[in-house]
Subunit: 389 residues, 2 copies
Amino acid sequence: MRDVAIIGTGVTKFGELWYRSFRDIGIEAGLKAVADSGLAGNEIDGMYIGNMSAGRFINQQHIDALIADYSGMATNHVSCTRVEAGEASGAVAFKEGVMAVASGLQDFVVVAGAEKMTDIDDASITSILDDTADAEWEASMGLTLASLHAMIAKRMIHDGMATREEIASVSVNSHAHGALNPNAQYRKAIELKTVLNSGAVATPLGMFDCAPNSDGAAAVVLCPLERAKEFTDSYVKVASLAQTSDTLALFQRNSITSFAATVEAGKMAYARAGITPADISVAEIHDNFSVSGILALQDLGFYEKGKAGKAFLDGEVTLGGGKLTVNTSGGLKARGHPVGATGVAHIAEITDQLRNRADKRQVKDAKYGLAQSVGGTGSAVVVSILEAI
Amino acid sequence: MRDVAIIGTGVTKFGELWYRSFRDIGIEAGLKAVADSGLAGNEIDGMYIGNMSAGRFINQQHIDALIADYSGMATNHVSCTRVEAGEASGAVAFKEGVMAVASGLQDFVVVAGAEKMTDIDDASITSILDDTADAEWEASMGLTLASLHAMIAKRMIHDGMATREEIASVSVNSHAHGALNPNAQYRKAIELKTVLNSGAVATPLGMFDCAPNSDGAAAVVLCPLERAKEFTDSYVKVASLAQTSDTLALFQRNSITSFAATVEAGKMAYARAGITPADISVAEIHDNFSVSGILALQDLGFYEKGKAGKAFLDGEVTLGGGKLTVNTSGGLKARGHPVGATGVAHIAEITDQLRNRADKRQVKDAKYGLAQSVGGTGSAVVVSILEAI
């Protein structure tokens, strides 16, 4: 298996982009990433696209062909593959792209993630998102992703594993960083009381505990590590990645205050990279709901159970706070969460951190960075570890 | 890149399976394939699933997790990835699975394709299928996949490249073989006049020129070639595969009587396998409409332009007819076309042909077999070549 490098990144503005089309933002991210990589477009021999639900959001399926076509790649008949794994779609597309290069089947691969969510009404969006829960045993009973995560939060509070304030502070951390990210949907720092006083979505979670609906796209360019220098001096190595699964329905788990799929993916990724959580300086995690941030830091081995909430509340994972900085991009809560794009945006942010291109969000002297993406309520997890060169 | 073997196949009955659920048929195919392979279930370390549109057919997304869960694989947190490329979804899932093993990331991978189409009304099914055309420039104008293929057929007839009878004979070939396949949706041979007299769908294409809407699933098990003998004496080698793209909309092509994506994928696949079309004894091609069969045999280099129709009409590609036998499974027309399953069912059929397990459909002494899958109107194509061991 060949080592793989990331040699370019491209991210669009995230937000409610009513004036832009799906194909438009997908292509923007891809072109930015290719321009950044130093590759000529005709060198690209493979594309992957992470997308959760264009078939329902914009009535367009077969978006592999759509993107190949509108990027001009169809002229050369370049292969393009769409991957879906709920909200982890972008992360799984990244994994497939890395595999394509690692296997030797392809040399220069663009991985993009894109989603256009806000052209339809909010109730329809929620209904589509809830289809990543178990349609038969959860969604049909009225359960939503928000109410499922509210149950997790309630259980955490009940078990003394986190306080309401600690849970809310995950959103405060994301907004603190989002304020520094020009592409973020929400570029405003918020106070704890804003989260605590926000309108109830599913008690105890309020509006500010929930990532928004967003439009946006992100892309990265991959090539064999040994060839990266031909194109750029600014690249990172894919140290490892791991993908895991769990039951689709939350009620079938032994515990709902830990996602076993995250625990396993983390262990596999650390082992494959030959490092421990202590080696990671910067992490992008899947804070689709505030409480998910606490789950992630504990399940990934950064904090013991019951300790991650305090780290968020104390600002320990906020820029300048401690050894590990979390969600410098603004995370899903403040950067925005165009579901299929999120996993790739994570990778782009970690890449830019490790090559010192994160501007005001820059973490100092980071050697390793980690990205975690989650589908549904921990039903599919991808953990990727990148290494500065 | 490691060589990859197929060591097991499993296919469900195809048809209108109103009494069975998506998860049910997906699991049946997977379990059959694993049982056939000789692997113990707990050795499997990766799964891929080709599916076009569960989000719209059955309101269930995140079917990677659904299948991981219901197959029992989620207990071990085995990764499961869903791939979509319109009607080529199953074939692309197969390609990703082969890459996972070839890259060394995984050793024992199950690739399944599944679709449950017939639980909703026919108009809705058609609308979903048409979303693999260009939603903005084709489907919104009232174009359907049937009418797009009717235009191709008309142009072929106009250019003297095929007669109406030759086009119709593609369906006759598929039904002749479907009659021999116990899992086929339609197990009845038909006469040419049945196709010619069938009710118009989009002139010149009638009902019997069009593949049906179907439910069904298929699966294969992959492992490194050098390990295949540990599990079974009956396996085949993946000699090569290639995936290509083209414009999403048909009107943007230079020619509509040839799919350039098929031509390119074929060339790449032959080159990678080190063979020519003359080495292929058995082929499964994407006859979603009768006319597509003629396109496929010409674009894949089996016949010159304008000659494939006569081959179908003369029975040259029907069992016992000539050097190349086409769609021994019954093809999309007679075996049925559960869109996400079709590409994997193709691979299962070729595998079973090459290991002499195709019963009444068996082609003699086949060394190489080819499978072709198409998304939309030639917007994405996968060609795989398998080799008998």
